[in-house]
């Protein structure tokens, strides 16, 4: 048959997907707006340091929540589970004299058990996750109060609080006689290493695509993207270097983010989560054990709650029954601000992290600007609504 179907050859150049960098631009914009409002107070090294210190656990939870959101669901129980895990660790240390590492391990186990519990109902019994996690939310809070007998357990020892308050060793240069000022060389080194890795990574993927005859992005777009990323991370690490160096919390968060970024983008398991969220029936008929995926997503969320529980109680140096109240909303909001879709199948770990950073920058900016806590809630709600509205409207325009 005559061929009217012209074979379209792959174009040599393609555009860099702009979506994620749009979010980064929004983050920068929010940051600069508050720099103006607060007269530059949020540019201070300590304020930058606090973005990580005060939001580390939100980032950890947002990463776990993203997997739930990818399946088209949420986990409402995480605030309570975080509190319970902290309560377990705190009680073991204060009342039973257990060592910090054992207490931390116990918190992780308790979190994983909560997750497995929810995962069992969600996957095996096919109970809607909204209801299952609403139940774990109520039960978790109750259990937390029972364990703590409605009291605060503390203070927690230094080797426990270290995860949330400690810093890596520093090598300061340029400090004055009193030891003030100066920059940590390790921070600068890390910033430089990241910059090199970003550039090398792009060069490698371009080279591989060229070798295999696949389209490559425009060079100027890659350069622009790299300048943006390197600019942001250099600023961030420079400010940390001016303060106390790299917080342990940052190391912990970076490891978690790296692991989950890898899982979602590079592994079969990650693809399966996306496939299931996009169309569960088609995923099942493609040989994906959707029940298994569901179970692990929720079990994993529990494990990360355990980690967040440690981080949060360590930061407060105590376990309190009210801890983590409303955290689920921050985590869910981070995912949606970061471009995840409520219907599932769309979203990235990096997006969720940027979303969590936007929430963190907002929090700190508003505190520094002296906003009333009630007003802060109004602003956060409005930002969530605005971010998702802009995102959805721009998508609708495209299609």
């Amino acid at each position: 048959m005559e061929n009217s179907n012209v074979k379209t050859l792959a174009p040599k150049k393609v555009n860099v997907s702009l979506k994620q960098y749009g979010m980064v631009l929004a983050l920068i914009a929010v940051y600069l707006i508050f720099a103006a409002i607060t007269g530059g107070k949020n540019l201070a090294p300590m304020a930058v340091n606090n973005i990580i210190m005060q939001n580390g656990y939100v980032i950890i939870l947002a990463v776990g929540m993203l997997l739930c959101v990818l399946t088209g669901n949420v986990d409402l129980g995480i605030g309570s589970v975080v509190a319970t895990c902290g309560a377990v660790a705190g009680t073991l240390i204060v009342d039973y004299g257990v060592s910090s590492p054992v207490a931390m391990l116990s918190a992780l186990v308790v979190g994983a058990m909560f997750g497995a519990f929810a995962g069992f109902f969600v996957s095996k019994l096919e109970i809607p996750p909204f209801i299952v996690t609403l139940a774990t939310m109520l039960m978790g809070r109750g259990i937390c109060y029972v364990i703590l007998q409605a009291q605060t357990k503390g203070p927690l020892p230094a080797d426990y609080t270290w995860v949330s308050t400690g810093f890596l060793p520093t090598v300061k240069v340029g400090a004055d006689a009193a030891g003030k000022g100066g920059v940590d060389l390790i921070c600068l080194a890390v910033a430089a290493v990241i910059a090199v890795l970003v550039v090398l990574g792009d060069m490698r993927s371009v080279a591989q695509s060229k070798k295999n005859g696949l389209p490559v992005p425009y060079t100027w777009q890659i350069v622009l993207k790299d300048v943006l990323i390197i600019g942001v991370e250099s600023f961030f690490f420079y400010k940390l270097g001016c303060y106390n160096g790299i917080p342990i919390m940052l190391v912990l968060v970076a490891i978690v983010v790296a692991i989950y970024h890898f899982i979602t983008t590079q592994t079969v398991a990650g693809r399966q989560i996306y496939a299931m969220g996009g169309n569960a029936k088609a995923a099942r008929l493609s040989g994906i054990n959707t029940k298994k995926v569901f179970f692990w997503v929720y079990a994993n969320m529990g494990l990360l709650c355990g980690l967040a529980g440690i981080v949060l109680s360590a930061r407060n140096a105590s376990a309190t029954p009210k801890a983590g109240d409303g955290l689920e909303m921050d985590a869910i909001a981070s995912c949606y601000i970061g471009g995840a879709a409520t219907s599932g199948g769309v979203g990235t770990v990096v997006g969720a992290v940027v979303g969590a950073f936007i929430m963190g920058v907002l929090n700190i900016g508003m505190s520094l600007a002296g906003f009333d806590t009630n007003v802060q809630k109004i602003v956060k709600g409005a930002v969530l609504l605005g971010a998702v509205t802009v995102d959805l409207l721009s998508k609708r325009k495209k299609s």
């Binding site: 695509s209 696949l214 590079q266 592994t267 995923a283 008929l285 493609s286 879709a341």
Partner: protein
């Protein structure tokens, strides 16, 4: 000279610079049935959306003249007020509402804002009588009725809106032959009562049956309008207009394709209904397929063909499944889809949007999702480069029309989507492929390409099973066919024995046997 009820003059509609409709012109006489034909992507749906106000006046150029006046519809409500009612391919019924509630959905019978249930039921009953469903209870939820009846309810709903011009988009796509005939006869009957209809369909035999005139659209242009009596209404003639060339053979010949040994066999297969363990859906099925052979599963809708395929494919349908599966002479256990893929079995679903594809994800993502674990990963980590290379190779091999494999499959035409599903299963390197309605809802050009791929598969020694409701497709592509009826193998035909009459004959004979 009959008056024209509708004239579409110089309609142009652009989507971000791309002309979906480019100077479309046609006229519909009052009381006639006009068919609009064209390949997928030719612009039929866009045209109907322009006509019914889905795309409001101002977003397109050109004039719609209806009953002598130029119309500028702002929304679908405006066009309905004038009596233009469109029935979309996907049914727009609310499944848990009753028949009567659905018929008057958005058009409620009410007094002072309160629903008048008496009048609702009375009128619903009257409307159902007009569509030949007089015996139906108007208070049952519509999801308890079959698709055929639901389609009739859609028409009753349109009549309730006092339609003068009824637009039907692929009305018989989900119906079996008997239901289709019933629906077409109803349309003819409505014509007798003075209704004007525009019908869009891929089923050319149906168009020849009902249409008074046929307007052919290709690439956004109106090519020609054929009139009954003056012009030739054969399928060949219509296809020539649609594709712009003579398609002398709709089924490519399969040459140099030796048939080898039996590589796939099902013995004593029994399956019960997933929700009702007493209801046997499939009874003592025995089939076999040889390497390089294309075998059909013919039968009427509801005969159990899809149920058979899905129950074999990792027990994806039914319960209390018993029987044996042999692949390459070895008895194998296939309890899950993972097992099926592992045993080199593939199943291309009849419903690509629900069961075949993840519409929001890219062509690449969809093509490799089933083969990912086995062929594109090491220790659970995806090998992105080998994946990208293979996907490019398959894109060219089966000719998916797209600029980049990163495009979402949801934005592709039906034919291209079907090619992606086919590629997805070819990438799992199966020995046995079950293709369920492989060309449903796609245009003739893409069909031809899919048949070519099927031939290629057979030539490389695969066993292919084709389930199809279109008998010409079974006749045109299969070496041999089983005929299923009411969950049993009613007969087997091969080579030149396979004709429409023979298949129907086997079904009829089996039905008679059941009655005795």
């Amino acid at each position: 000279m009959a008056e024209y009820i509708l004239e579409m003059n110089h309609i142009v509609k652009e989507f971000s610079g791309v002309r979906a409709l480019d100077d479309v012109n046609f006229k519909v006489k009052k009381g006639e049935i006009m068919a609009i034909c064209g390949e997928n992507g030719a612009g039929k749906s866009t045209l109907m959306n322009v006509l019914s106000g889905v795309y409001p006046h101002g977003t397109y150029s050109g004039d719609i003249v209806y009953k002598g006046e130029v119309c500028s519809f702002k929304s679908i409500r405006d066009s309905e007020k004038k009596g233009i009612v469109i029935i979309h391919q996907e049914l727009a019924l609310s499944p848990y509402l009753s028949v009567a509630e659905n018929i008057f959905l958005g058009n409620e019978r009410k007094k002072n804002g309160i629903i008048d249930w008496g009048e609702t039921q009375r009128e619903a009953h009257a409307l159902l009588q007009r569509v030949g469903m007089g015996g139906e209870n108007v208070n049952v939820p519509v999801n308890t009725l079959g698709v055929g009846k639901q389609q009739l309810i859609e028409i009753a709903k349109a009549l309730g809106k006092k339609a003068d011009l009824l637009i039907l988009d692929e009305p018989t796509a989900a119906l079996n032959d008997r239901e289709s005939k019933q629906l077409l006869d109803l349309i003819l009957q409505l014509k007798e009562q003075g209704m004007t209809c525009i019908i869009i369909s891929h089923k050319l035999n149906e168009i020849s049956y009902v249409a008074d005139s046929i307007t052919i659209i290709r690439d956004g242009h109106t090519i020609e309008t054929l009139q009954k009596g003056d012009d030739d209404f054969t399928e060949e003639r219509i296809i020539k207009g649609m594709v712009g060339r003579e398609l002398t053979n709709r089924y490519p010949k399969r040459e140099n394709c030796p048939i080898g040994d039996t590589i796939f066999e099902i013995k004593n297969w029994n399956v019960y209904h997933p929700d009702d363990s007493n209801r046997q859906m499939l009874k003592d099925i025995n089939i076999h397929v040889r390497a390089g052979e294309v075998v059909g599963l013919a039968g009427l809708m509801g005969a159990g063909r899809t149920e058979l395929a899905m129950s074999i494919f990792g027990h994806s349908y039914g319960q209390k499944i018993s029987g044996d599966v042999y692949i390459n002479g070895k008895k194998v256990k296939i309890n899950t889809v993972q097992d099926a893929i592992h045993q080199k079995l593939a199943y291309v679903s009849e419903d690509r949007k629900t069961y075949g594809l993840i519409l929001i994800d890219s062509i690449k993502f969809n093509m490799t999702i089933a083969a990912l674990r086995k062929f594109f990963s090491k220790k659970g980590v995806v090998d992105q480069q080998s994946e990208a290379v293979k996907v490019e190779e398959f894109r060219h091999l089966i000719n998916v029309k797209t600029n980049t494999v990163d495009q979402a499959v949801g934005s592709l035409s039906g034919g291209n989507q079907q090619k992606v599903v086919l590629a997805k299963w070819m990438l799992t390197q199966p020995d046995v492929l079950i293709l369920d309605e492989p060309t449903r809802g796609i245009d003739v050009g893409a069909k031809y390409e899919i048949y070519t791929v099927i031939n290629e598969l057979a030539r490389s020694g695969k066993a292919v099973i084709i389930i199809s409701s279109e008998m010409p497709e079974i006749i045109g592509t299969c070496d041999r066919t089983y005929v299923l009826n009411e969950g049993e193998i009613a007969g087997e035909l091969s080579g030149d024995e396979i004709t429409q009459e023979a298949i129907m004959g086997v079904i009829m004979a089996h039905n008679r046997k059941g009655e005795l």
